[in-house]
């Protein structure tokens, strides 16, 4: 009888840990198609302007988000358009919550050690991410930027990252 009780406890414990698979058909849900995306870089008038690029992307926005951000960080196709985030920045992860908040987790040596920059450049860098995410993914209403998986105060001492940021039309070229 004692053995039966132990076995029952083991079954209860095991059933508590069992997880449902996220999807049963990965091929259908992550079907890849070519899509034209807008990547935001700084224009000579010191505002963010879109650059169109064709990318093969999964149809599932959660899967595509990360790829679009990695593409943004590659920089503009025009060599004269400068990079906004430090050259060694990486996208560690990006995900989208059902409430419309996209989480973008950045990393890299410069952001980890503290980025020496001014307000304008920091604003441009952060809002290039916010603008790129919200303009390509209508489900994303705002973007919360993390550094190395943790909430960060700022990237370089200016723009507060303690809340999710909504797009700011005043930094985008009309």
């Amino acid at each position: 009888m004692r053995r039966a009780v132990v076995a029952a406890l083991v079954i209860v414990a095991a059933s508590c840990r069992r997880q449902q698979p996220l999807t049963r058909n990965l091929n259908v849900e992550n079907k890849v198609a070519m899509r034209t995306v807008s990547l935001y870089y700084e224009s000579p008038d010191l505002l963010l302007a879109p650059e169109r690029r064709d990318l093969p992307l999964p149809e599932n926005p959660a899967g595509a988000l990360d790829l679009v951000l990695r593409e943004l960080l590659k920089g503009s196709a025009n060599a004269a358009v400068p990079r906004l985030l430090p050259g060694d920045t990486v996208v560690r992860a990006a995900y989208l919550l059902p409430d419309g908040t996209a989480f973008v987790d950045l990393g890299g040596p410069t952001l980890t050690q503290g980025w020496a920059t001014g307000s304008h450049q920091e604003l441009m860098a952060i809002y290039s991410v916010v603008q790129t995410v919200t303009s390509n993914f209508p489900e994303a209403k705002r973007v919360r930027v993390l550094v190395n998986g943790e909430p960060a105060e700022t990237l370089g001492g200016h723009v507060s990252l303690s809340r999710a940021l909504a797009p700011m039309p005043s930094v985008v070229a009309r």
Binding site: A8, V12, A13, C16, A116, T117, G118, H158, V159, A166
Partner: protein
């Protein structure tokens, strides 16, 4: 036994699905008891209501934060700030409180700050034994040094202490007394000074009495950290039937409405160098030298009290900068920065005020609505400012926008650098300021021409004069609107006439 089986399974399931609250020992003079803790960001946080209730007090919600009350003392704290507040003093915590199921959890340093400052208790947390001990303070004797020096018509009395301590300042006719809350080791019993305002200093018990040479001498008192010092600036006060309170707080001598205390924030500092120019000029150095001279200029021209958030190359956390302004009950906050851009040729100055809204269109609309109501900034209410928290600046957006406008207009007028206008951004240093606040980007340090300008004496003077005029203009405008009868100190036209 068979009948027991379902019960056992149920019990096992409930153990696996629900975690019991984690408790630790609270050791207080009345005996030991258990209090609930939680963990967040690597910190252990204690249920504030349980600890304060064990001592006979209460914790109640208040707006977005909480109020802790114990023996008629009140402390306010909230989940968005690692600074709590007791009257004029701040309680610094290593991490902000968290709220779980409506219950506030705080780091043990909150109790240390609150109970140490108001109930003369010592608080210690032993993480190995998991015991939080609260007991009457065991006082160590604090060494005191005193210096008196007259600089530019102000007699500066600096009381240096070997450890920080609480104190009150009492004003008698012709004397000021600093009453320390801990025993002190006096450097002497009595000493006379050959000073225009201070005649002698006397130590007796835990009191330091400073006798003055005239009754029309007043003092601004403030404290400095690292090392801990209490500073009293003695100067002549306007004669007249001014009734000075018998008890003055150490932080704010003037309570009249208007702009009396201005906090100037030199951007960056220490290892946070800010932007770097092509010729190597660092933003942290450019802002510090400019702000030190700006502070002198503001004090001389506007006769206001000016506090710098840093006076040397030290690293001051962003939230501490606004906390300093809140602590001193500043009436205006100006953060000074130098700009950076990767686009070649970026130049000009711009002034920001805070945007917390989804878009700055929305924020502007809110500011316009406030403008339409012609409402001055909210006055302090009650005996304690409870809105230290995040979003505090939202109540001041209308005034901040006016102040930013004045700064940008004077910068345009004086410096002839490109006008990049008044803008809004969610800048960390402006969040939480309980007064009108703006951030000025003087010029682009990344532009070689503007970097050279920033190094030039002439340009620096022009910027300092422009910012002084802007503060003066905002001050006059604000004080006129709230109906303070006061002669304008500096106006744009006067400033222009005098060549500033």
């Amino acid at each position: 036994m068979k009948r027991l089986l379902p019960l056992l399974i149920l019990a096992a399931a409930s153990i696996l699905s629900a975690q019991a609250p984690i408790q630790v020992t609270l050791r207080i003079p009345g005996g030991d008891r258990r209090v609930t803790i939680t963990q967040a960001g690597g910190q252990i946080l204690f249920a504030a209501d349980e600890v304060i209730a064990a001592l006979g007090g209460t914790v109640t919600p208040d707006g977005t934060g909480f109020k802790a009350t114990l023996n008629n003392s009140l402390a306010a704290f909230g989940p968005d700030s690692r600074f709590g507040v007791i009257r004029d003093e701040l309680i610094e915590m290593p991490a902000p409180p968290v709220v779980v199921d409506g219950r506030p959890y705080v780091p043990w340093q909150f109790f240390q700050g609150f109970l140490g400052k108001t109930a003369d208790m010592d608080v210690a947390w032993d993480p190995a034994a998991r015991v939080l001990t609260i007991r009457p303070a065991q006082h160590t004797i604090i060494g005191v040094q005193l210096s008196v020096a007259n600089v530019q018509g102000i007699s500066k009395v600096v009381v240096g202490l070997t450890a920080s301590t609480d104190y009150t300042i009492l004003k008698d006719k012709g004397a000021y007394t600093i009453r320390f809350k801990t025993p002190i080791r006096a450097p002497f019993a009595e000493q006379s000074y050959d000073d225009p305002y201070v005649s002698k200093a006397t130590f007796a018990g835990s009191d330091l009495r400073l006798d003055l040479k005239a009754v029309d001498v007043g003092a601004d008192a403030y404290k400095l950290e690292n090392p801990f010092r209490i500073v009293l600036d003695f100067h002549k006060v306007a004669p007249g039937p001014t009734t000075l309170p018998a008890f003055t707080t150490p932080l704010r001598p003037v309570e009249a409405p208007g702009i009396h205390t201005i906090v100037i924030d030199p951007g960056h500092g220490g290892k946070e160098v800010g932007a770097i120019g092509p010729d190597g000029l660092m933003e942290k150095d450019a802002t510090l030298s400019l702000c030190r001279r700006l502070a002198d200029n503001l004090e001389n021209k506007l006769k206001t009290r000016v506090i710098l958030t840093r006076t040397d190359d030290s690293l001051v956390p962003l939230d501490q900068r606004t906390a300093i302004a809140n602590q001193y009950h500043a009436d205006l906050f100006l953060s000074v920065h130098m700009n950076a851009a990767v686009v070649k040729g970026a130049h000009g100055s711009e002034t920001y005020f805070l945007s917390l809204e989804a878009s700055d269109e929305l924020a502007r609309k809110a500011a316009e609505l406030e403008n339409a109501a012609a409402k001055p900034a909210p006055a302090e209410s009650g005996d304690l400012k409870l809105i230290l928290w995040d979003l505090a600046q939202q109540s001041y957006l209308n005034e901040s926008s006016r102040f930013a406008q004045a700064v940008q207009e004077e910068m345009n007028r004086a410096t002839h650098v490109q006008n990049r206008g008044v803008k809004q951004a969610p800048f960390k240093v402006l969040i939480g300021a309980t007064m009108p606040a703006a951030l000025v980007e003087v010029a682009f340090i990344t532009n070689p021409d503007e970097e050279a300008k920033l190094k030039s004496e002439d340009f620096q003077k022009t910027v300092i004069d422009a910012l002084t005029t802007a503060v003066g203009r905002y001050k006059t405008d604000y004080e006129t609107r709230i109906g303070v009868i006061r002669a304008p100190v500096t106006t744009t036209s006067e400033a222009k006439r005098s060549g500033t």
